[in-house]
């Protein structure tokens, strides 16, 4: 595990992306099978340890440290694995180096009872750096500055392959990826993927503005609504069906009303929505369906799922991805008609004769469930990833409101120890006629790193009260918050909730009492 923990240490100290790719390649060169394959699994989130739960780690550390000191440390460090690796008592100076593969095999073999002791004993045997690596592999969610994509790029470069070749195979491969490495090292042919139900990487769009559109020929593009749901692909082999999210997670369990009723062979791409009598429900309704392992009958009836398709990757066994968009959509339209399902329909085109006209159409659309427009080049092939040029998303302009910062909390990962999570509120009248602030939303993004440092400083200087890790601050800092929509919600004191709020601007200049009122937000519902 030494080589792997060193890799994590070095990745942390290598700000340059190319430097990180180089470190990964060096690691692939020096490390043996199957260790390096397991490392790839850990870094890409592909290692499955059924008994690995954060609660186990928390129990282990509680038994060894003062609870309060642990909580304070964790709040400060902002990463559980790192906190535990630093707090773990050094019981002996004779540290052993363990083999990564053996460590993983032991963890996989352990049952719920033995897991606790196994982890504790292992942590006793290793030093701080390996403890960090070991805890990360157990808990996942690495946050070490390496995305799955970066690992795939490194693998491609290591084997002198195109990144798309790796992406295409990826979801058919299993750790520790020995067949993949053999192919990359030209010792074997490419791995054969037999599974017809595997995930296929999606084609994504880039954002665009009206000004940039003016430079493009409108005749080259088709326009569709951009539905406010979840991007998904539906894969069928004639018997079974699988539904995957954009990132390749199998979300079929939560949507039996889609996967159980559809029988076909091929791969279609579309938007997962909740639709009632032909009308797309707000995103909030769809959220109620997500993550449910066994949705109840009632839930299925009240929040009926719907799949609105816009592209087709495979028809039967025929790969359509190199064909033009128009060809694919013609096939898709036939498919939709043939399948004749109430839960599946075709995302239709919007007719327009110039950009101005389309812009006016976009401005008029205020319906729930529409996020803006999608623009796709008529002759574009289906290219996995986010190629520049063929597809654009032209989102509706966000709504904005001036809100007052109320609470701040420290962030995690890159922002650990900075106050980077903000709850903000708007004014409303109380019964006694005095104005009060009530929370309307929470945001973690939209500001620059420099602004983060400034806000952090402001929070520290204006702390009013502490509730565990949460700091209540004085009324004084106004954020211009951008959000996509606002809807009624009983969960919040203000009675409303924002969709995707983010900090648009920091209004250092604006007095807090001039911030917006809850009533004016309600008018946007």
């Amino acid at each position: 595990m030494r080589a792997f923990s060193e890799l994590l240490d070095n990745l942390n100290c290598t700000p340059q992306r190319n430097g990180r790719i180089r470190l990964l390649i060096n690691y692939f060169e020096k490390e043996q099978d199957p260790n390096r394959g397991w490392a790839v699994a850990i870094l890409t989130g592909g290692l499955e340890l059924p008994n690995a739960k954060t609660s186990v780690i928390r129990r282990l550390i509680s038994a060894r440290t003062d609870q309060k000191l642990f909580e304070l440390s964790y709040e400060y460090v902002g990463d559980l694995a790192e906190t535990v690796s630093l707090l773990w008592p050094n019981t002996s100076n004779n540290k052993t180096h363990l083999n990564l593969t053996n460590v993983i095999k032991d963890l996989q073999r352990a049952n719920r009872k033995t897991f606790y002791d196994l982890v504790g004993n292992t942590l006793d045997k290793i030093d701080t750096s390996e403890r960090f690596a070991f805890l990360k592999l157990i808990m996942g969610n690495l946050r070490v500055g390496v995305s799955a994509r970066l690992v795939k790029l490194a693998l491609a470069e290591y084997g002198d392959k195109q990144p798309s070749e790796i992406e295409e195979l990826w979801f058919g491969l299993k750790p520790p990826y020995q067949d993949l490495f053999a192919w990359l090292e030209a010792k074997a042919p490419p791995p054969i993927i037999n599974d017809k139900l595997i995930f296929r990487p999606l084609m994504l769009a880039n954002p665009i503005t009206k000004d940039a559109l003016m430079d493009l020929k409108h005749q080259d593009f088709v326009a569709e609504w951009k539905w406010d749901g979840i991007r998904a692909i539906l894969v069928g082999d004639g018997k079974e069906c699988k539904l995957y999210s954009r990132t390749g997670d199998d979300i079929g369990q939560a949507f039996p009303d889609i996967v159980r009723v559809t029988k076909f062979r091929g791969v279609v791409d579309g938007e997962l929505l909740v639709v009632r009598e032909g009308v797309v429900a707000p995103f909030n309704d769809l959220q109620k369906r997500l993550g449910r392992k066994k949705p109840s009958k009632k839930l299925l009836e009240e929040y009926p799922a719907h799949f609105r398709v816009y592209d087709m990757l495979f028809n039967h066994d025929v790969d359509l991805r190199s064909k033009s968009l128009i060809d694919r959509r013609t096939k898709l339209k036939h498919w939709v008609d043939a399948i004749a399902s109430t839960q599946i329909d075709f995302s239709s085109q919007i007719n327009f004769s110039n950009w101005e006209e389309l812009s006016a159409i976009r401005d008029r659309a205020r319906a729930n469930g529409i996020e803006g427009l999608m623009l796709k080049q008529i002759n574009s092939p289906y290219l996995p990833g986010r190629p520049k040029g063929p597809w654009f998303k032209w989102k509706r302009d966000p709504l904005v409101a001036d809100c007052v910062l109320m609470y701040a909390q420290r962030g995690h990962g890159k922002r650990s120890s900075f106050y980077s999570d903000y709850t903000f509120g708007c004014w409303r009248n109380t019964v006694d006629g005095v104005d009060e602030l009530v929370p309307v939303g929470k945001a973690y993004s939209g500001f620059t790193n420099t602004e983060l440092v400034e806000i952090d400083r402001w929070v520290r200087a204006n702390e009013k009260e502490r509730f565990g890790p949460v700091r209540a601050v004085e009324v004084g800092l106004v954020f211009e918050v951008a959000f996509d929509a606002v809807h009624i919600s009983s969960r919040h004191k203000s009675g409303l909730a924002m969709r995707f709020p983010r900090i648009h601007r920091i209004r250092w200049d604006k007095p807090a009492h001039d911030a917006d009122r809850v009533e004016s937000l309600l008018q946007l519902v």
């Binding site: 942390n12 700000p15 000191l69 304070l72 440390s73 630093l86 707090l87 960090f132 650990s416 120890s417």
Partner: protein, 335 residues
């Protein structure tokens, strides 16, 4: 014997000794002050009269001008000075050169204001001395059990190893200009590193003063006179802010190093884009802090700036009364 809290109070200007009519490390201009050490957040300009160690006074003059304090009373370690019925003496705090704990005795009640301190050996300053007292005022910069500074020699070894591995790159070390920079240089010399060390202007000035005060630092050169080529394979030391500034563009492909106790935390390393973290701190780590609050045998511990909550909690578990002074104006990022 008067209780410490009856004659030593927190005011908006800083800690105030009531019978003595003076402030300790005041954050605003005052008529009379005792200053623990020369860092800018503790030694502020404009006071009428100041008691401090001779070294601290020299540092203040260098940084803020010779007339920054109208009257100065240099007080060497271990000497006594009586003022308005309060006995004052200064004892080494081990933080930077001239850094002192202020020992105040009033009608038999003794309070130690330790300022910033560390316990371990530092070739550039006198080692911390434990003074038993009735109330001990401590900092809490690294008061969390995750902060356990490693041996500074192992950190210097890490630097020398990297230097050997990367003969074609410049090692640019961010280190606080007063104290940290000189300590890193002295540690490098102790480890046998003989080559000239290149300095940013702000650090050059302080090093000259250290040499004048009798701390040997070997051959030092100014970066501004050197050309790019001569800096390849060499060590350059600059204030932390300069390593991220335009100033650092003069180096070809430098390895950014940072000497600080914060480097214990991975995300801090990443946030700063540091390639070689050196965990070298001029503040006490968790073990030193907890050792100290026990060894001073004070029934009362007052905690100033940093992560006071954890240290107070620790003291309480040991049956020691502890509270936060909630002092503001002291920067923790200087470390």
């Amino acid at each position: 014997m008067p209780k410490p809290e009856t004659w030593l109070k927190v005011t908006p200007h800083g800690l105030f000794c009531v019978p003595g009519d003076f402030y300790l490390d005041p954050i605003r201009t005052v008529p009379k002050a005792i200053v623990t050490h020369g860092h800018a957040d503790h030694a502020r300009p404009g006071h009428e009269a100041v008691i401090a160690t001779p070294e601290t006074i020299e540092i203040a003059k260098m940084r803020m001008g010779i007339n920054t304090w109208k009257n100065t009373e240099p007080l060497k370690y271990g000497r006594n000075f009586k003022f308005n019925g309060v006995d004052i003496s200064l004892e080494p705090a081990g933080h930077v050169i001239g850094s002192a704990q202020v020992v105040l005795t009033y009608k038999g009640s003794r309070v130690v204001v330790s300022g910033d301190y560390k316990r371990r050996q530092d070739p550039t300053c006198d080692q911390f001395k434990v003074i038993q007292c009735d109330a001990f005022i401590t900092e809490a910069t690294f008061a969390l059990p995750v902060f356990r500074h490693p041996d500074d020699h192992t950190e210097i070894k890490k630097l020398l190893a990297s230097l050997e591995r990367n003969p074609d790159r410049t090692h640019l070390i961010g280190a606080y200009a007063l104290g940290k920079a000189q300590r890193v240089i002295a540690l490098l010399r102790k480890a046998g590193y003989q080559s000239p060390i290149f300095l940013h202007g702000a650090i050059n000035k302080v090093c000259d003063l250290y040499k004048k005060l009798g701390v040997p630092l070997g051959e030092l050169k100014s970066v501004s006179h050197a050309n790019k080529k001569d800096l390849i394979g060499q060590i350059v030391i600059a204030p932390p802010s300069a390593t991220r500034d335009r100033w650092s563009r003069r180096f070809t492909n430098p390895i950014i190093c940072f000497a600080s106790g914060w480097m214990q935390i991975r995300q801090r390393t990443r946030q700063r884009g540091v390639e070689l973290p050196l965990i070298i701190s001029d503040h006490a780590d968790w073990d030193e802090l907890t050792q100290t609050v026990v060894e001073v045998e004070a029934p009362d511990i007052w905690v100033t700036h940093g992560r006071e909550e954890a240290l107070i909690h620790y003291a309480e578990t040991k049956g020691i009364r502890a509270r936060a002074l909630s002092m503001i104006g002291y920067e923790e990022q200087n470390e």
